[in-house]
Amino acid sequence: MTARVRMAENGAQLVSRLEGRPSLRDIEPNIFPVDSGPRQGDVVEFHGMEGAGKTETLYHLIIRCIMPVQNGGLEVGVVFIDTDYHFDMLRLVSALEGRLAEDLKESDGSENEPEERVRSCLRRLSVVHCNSSVQLLLTLHYLENTFSSQPSVGLLVIDSISAFYWVDRFSGGESTVCQEANLRKCTELLDRLRRNYGIVVFATTHAIMRNYGSDPGVSDVPCSSSSSLLSSSHRWRSAESAADFDKPYLCRAWQRIVTHRMLFTKSPVSKDHKQVFSTACTSIMTKGVKRCSFHVMEDGIKFVCDK
């Protein structure tokens, strides 16, 4: 294997860099604002409490990417970085099988067996497990080679990027700079990757910080609170007044590269045992909030959006 250096690249890398990646703009018009689907180089943050549907939505979007074009997919390669061993392959496959089966009804039966079709979709996805922020950083360096040599990979998913928050915060001691150092380096690297290679990044963050400064009655609440060490930037207003767990707490470098932010909430369980999940998407390109609701069924997500 020849040494790969940032300054010099061989012909294949040059072509892959200039040619551009497959586009993800129509990945899911239900949840992204109109005409503001993720373009190349966008970073989407999925934020919400546990059980609010972030991982389900991620699987839905990943399935859309890896399915073949004749089934409504985008045939885009995906790299999935799993930082808290949360990746549920069986759930992903059952949702994938559900989607493939429902598309099969519409088209005439193909020659491939369902198993083989699932496997060919899964070949477009690769999974990495990281168990510390240092390993995440080094893995991202390693993945740079993957992105440069495979132009069909268009999406990087990190679930979740906030997994090492507490461990880093403690091991950094008193200095905020030390605490955030690893995440900041990862963010700088992500920034470089998305600018040079045009990949889209989806990252989930757990909602663990309570927004004590917010008043539940007021709708436009600024998220910055001066007392917190890792306080958020001023760009993101609270989309839901009832969501008092949506305070951004990751480092400022991360706040700066996020282009779309999706807040997930779930309704309390209604009488017929059906839970409604909703997302509210804000982006730096458009004003306003795009809201959407969905149910989680056995074969994935069913939207109940009204356009």
Partner: protein, 331 residues
């Protein structure tokens, strides 16, 4: 952070490290963040050596991507579903405890969490003939009680002793010993156990909140960091060794007066499935309990089943029936 020392990889000697330190590069993360060409100019080190060392360090410390198709094949062959022995609880958990996942049992004091853990352990060691590792943080494990439970399933002394031998109990009373115990298990304990003939399929920690809740609160970051490290160890054990992990936790009330799991928001992301145990009020038999599914990736939440702690393997027809139950589609 990983500090650069000589011997960390071939090609790094003392002069190399000294040259890097003059540029304030002391850790592996700093080293890989720099472009080798710039470093070669600044530190007067050989470009080839820098590139070679960078490659080796990355190869040593990175995690490698695996194709999802291969991962799926592996999971299909290695995932197992362990029955808990109680048909009601199995229904709630979609046939039982899944290996590779953490399942959480929550309930107020006296709701029966430890008894459920005992019953599940006894079922696994006796019916399923698997070794169970039981980490006891409250001093609640009583061998007599386990024996009593075994005696109801079989009168044969030999079988009872065999089953008791398969339940290995570790007593830890603070979070540091818990971490040490888990790390020990991960590095050699589990392999030894599987080499010795039995296979370990279950790990129980009763209870995880007893050692963690005293470390949380106030401005202590250490407690949160330790909690996430404990979570990380348990997840690695579950995934790498294909083990079903069952933990117990206490309950608190949220803003609306509903019961929720203790240990806060950060812990709530850790388990894959969560079951709430409650006493049945005004029941004729004092050992009746209800189990409610509060978090699951496979079934609709809020399913409720009733069961009797004393008659573990009996099916109980429950008066609270679930309106919707999703069929599992896994082979």
């Amino acid at each position: 952070m990983v500090i650069l020392r000589e011997g960390i990889c071939p090609g790094i000697n003392e002069d190399f490290i000294k040259a890097l330190q003059s540029e304030d590069i002391r850790t592996v993360e700093d080293f890989v963040s720099f472009n080798p060409e710039e470093l070669a100019q600044k530190c007067s080190l050989s470009y080839k050596a820098l590139v070679a060392v960078r490659r080796v360090l990355l190869a040593q410390c990175t995690a490698f991507p695996v194709s999802a198709a291969d991962l799926y094949e592996e999971l299909l062959s290695s995932t197992a579903i362990l029955s808990t022995g109680s048909p009601s609880l199995d229904k709630l958990l979609d046939s039982g405890l899944y290996t590779g996942e953490i399942t959480e049992l929550i309930g107020s004091p006296g709701s029966g969490k430890t008894q459920v853990c005992f019953s599940v352990a006894v079922n696994m060691s006796h019916q399923l003939k698997q070794t169970v590792f039981y980490i006891d943080t409250r001093g609640g494990v009583c061998a007599n009680r386990l024996l009593q439970m075994l005696q109801t399933s079989t009168p044969d002394m030999e079988e009872q002793m065999e089953a008791l031998k398969k339940i290995k109990v570790f007593r830890v009373f603070d979070v540091f010993s818990l971490l040490a115990c888990l790390q020990n298990l991960r590095s050699n304990g589990l392999q030894k156990a599987s080499v010795g003939g039995g296979s370990v399929k279950a790990l129980m920690v009763d209870s995880v909140s007893a050692v963690l809740s005293s470390m949380l609160g106030g401005k202590q970051n250490e407690g949160m960091s330790l909690m996430m490290q404990v979570a990380g160890e348990m997840k690695m054990i579950a995934k790498d060794f294909n083990i079903a992990v069952l933990v117990t936790n206490h309950v608190t009330k949220d803003g609306n007066g509903h019961l929720k799991a203790g240990l806060g928001q950060s812990w709530s992301h850790v388990p894959r499935t969560r079951v709430l145990l409650q006493r049945v009020e005004n029941a004729e038999t004092p050992s009746l309990r209800t189990a409610t599914l509060t978090k699951s990736s496979r079934q609709a939440c809020r399913l409720v089943e009733e069961f009797d702690l004393c008659h573990w393997s009996e099916e109980r027809s429950t008066s609270i029936s679930a309106k919707r139950k999703l069929e599992s589609s896994k082979p």
